[in-house]
């Protein structure tokens, strides 16, 4: 399969089941909603080192937020069911509670699995906190120096998909970056999808384990490193001199597949040799995103 002269390799992205929460952060202005969201999603690229993967899903207009103020939707994901509540409490407590004018709401109200967030953060109020039940949901009012921080008592948690990906194999680093930027722009604000890495792009794709250190769970994906072409078993065509990866997490497989289609389509530009994907032979992750199936009809 070719799209505008770019080979779509016969391979698939292998992804995993994760636990997801959707957090709605609102504030007096878009600026402060974004400030909180950026801190909330900071250092959250991969569970390998960050314990959590998070990203901004999309901006929300005032008409779509619970309190009618500007906001952002954020997805936060962990591998384990027990990890997510901890990460939500520590991150919302340190980054949203602290940020001027913000409030924090659950973005998955229909999820039957509920985890306590406001119910834990309320203790910061040192006995001065109070709660209100509005429309059947409890919200905590925590007094802070600026006024009050409002946070919903419980947040929904659902199963999601983490690790959707594709690789952009390019003739040059400039071409790889341009294609990656185009892909990210096309995928930005796709409902139900986040790109947890810097700018949505990964330059350091990893393989499972290490050749030398047994305790390492991941190390550089040498098969896709152009500088190692001569000394390792390479997966790169001769003309490829740079590779970038787009990694995406989502609330469901359909959202991932849809975003991949948009991203791959946008990445097929001049200077790109091929689009590939990372997998582990299909033995580790239950979700397989076959590139050619996803791009059917786009060639």
């Amino acid at each position: 399969m070719n799209i505008r002269g770019v080979l779509i390799e016969e391979t698939f992205a292998e992804a995993f089941t994760m636990r997801v929460a959707r957090i709605i952060v609102t504030a007096r202005s878009p600026r402060w909603a974004r400030e909180a969201a950026l801190k909330l999603t900071g250092f959250a690229t991969s569970v390998i080192g960050c314990k959590v993967e998070a990203g901004i899903e999309r901006e929300l207009p005032e008409s779509e937020t619970p309190d009618g103020r500007p906001g952002l939707s954020i997805l936060m994901m962990t591998m384990g069911k027990d990890d997510l509540p901890k990460r939500l409490i520590e991150r919302i407590g340190q980054t949203v509670l602290t940020c001027p004018t913000t409030a924090c709401f659950d973005g998955l109200p229909a999820a039957p699995d509920r985890v306590g967030v406001g119910s834990a953060l309320r203790f910061f109020g040192d006995g001065f906190q109070s709660s209100k039940v509005i429309g059947g949901e409890r919200f905590w009012r925590i007094p802070v120096m600026e006024g009050e921080f409002l946070v919903q008592e419980k947040f929904g948690m659902v199963k999601g998909v983490g690790g959707g990906n594709f690789l952009i194999l390019a003739r040059s680093a400039d071409a790889a970056l341009a294609a990656a930027e185009a892909a990210v722009d096309a995928m930005a604000s796709h409902p139900g999808v986040i790109l947890p890495f810097p700018g949505g792009v990964v330059r350091s794709g990893s393989k499972v384990g290490s050749r030398r250190i047994k305790s390492m769970i991941a190390s550089t994906n040498d098969a896709y490193c152009p500088t190692l072409r001569a000394i390792t078993t390479t997966a790169l065509p001769d003309t490829v001199n740079s590779v970038l990866e787009i990694v995406m997490n989502g609330t469901d497989a359909d959202a991932i597949a849809s975003a991949m289609r948009m991203g791959i389509g946008a990445a097929c530009i001049d200077g790109i040799v091929a689009i590939s994907a990372g997998n582990y032979g299909g033995k580790l992750g239950p979700h397989h995103f076959h590139l050619r199936k996803i791009m059917e009809g786009a060639a």
Partner: protein, 253 residues
């Protein structure tokens, strides 16, 4: 036709204690079963609701009361479920001691709406009591939880002995609201006299009111205006003769 419709055949004479009509589980009752619920007529004793009203419709968790219910007391007392609509005015103690569900009064309500029954230590412990008109004195007395809303004025001694919960008044609030309140909130969008046992804290924009008021507008069509959502509120803490964790939030501008 969905939901039950209870239509008074004639004006209530004498006054009728309707506490037994919606007490306990009622939302799955068919019209004939609800018609057997007792109404205590003053000086005459109990009669079945069906003797006074025509009941029609099918159960879907809602019931509407049509007619002149001004002489009906304790309608919706102890309510735990379902959505109750009263198309006009209603008498005293509507929703007294209610614990869940909702009561929407299209007209005005008498005294002690959502308050505690005489023998009880707590008023409303849950649910929503929304009155589009005014409410009489001692609304929400000993209220423990839940939401009481008045589209018009609120009589004197509202929220007396309030333990928690919220009263929202779109009109003027009468003298001495929130006396002996422990944790409750009185939200005043109109004039409100501040009792001497309340102390001014600050003027700010409580975010939770944006949610609450927006919901009242969407759910019940209450006259919430942009100035209520975006405005500032003076917060008074009280009753300082009690626990002092209650509040009066008075809209300013």
């Amino acid at each position: 036709m969905s939901g039950l419709l209870v239509t008074l055949r004639a004006s209530l004479e004498p006054a009728a204690d309707c506490a037994g009509v919606l007490a306990g589980a009622w939302s799955r009752l068919v019209a004939a079963d609800l018609a057997r619920r007792p109404v205590a007529l003053s000086g005459r004793g109990p009669v079945p609701l069906g003797d006074l009203c025509q009941l029609t419709g099918d159960p879907d968790g809602t019931v509407r009361f049509v007619g002149d219910w001004r002489r009906a007391t304790r309608l919706g007392a102890g309510l735990t479920e379902g959505a109750v609509g009263i198309e006009g005015d209603v008498g005293d103690e509507v929703g007294v001691g209610m614990a869940g569900g909702s009561i929407e009064v299209r007209g005005s309500a008498g005294h002690r709406a959502g308050a505690a029954a005489p023998e009880a230590r707590r008023g409303m412990t849950g649910g929503e009591l929304v009155v589009h008109g005014s409410v009489g004195r001692e609304a929400g007395a000993l209220m423990r939880r839940g939401l009481l809303v008045a589209g018009g004025g609120v009589g004197d001694h509202a929220a007396v002995g309030m333990i928690a919960g919220t009263i929202v008044a779109f009109g003027a609030v009468g003298p001495t609201p929130g006396l002996w309140s422990k944790r409750g909130s009185v939200v005043a969008l109109g004039e409100v006299p501040i009792p001497s046992t309340y102390r001014y804290a600050c003027t700010y924009q409580p975010v939770h009111l944006r949610l609450m008021l927006a919901r009242l507008k969407a759910q019940y069509g209450m006259p919430v205006e942009g100035r209520h959502l975006a405005g500032f509120y003076r917060r008074y803490s009280g009753d300082l003769a009690e626990l002092g964790k209650g509040e009066i939030l008075a809209w300013t501008a």
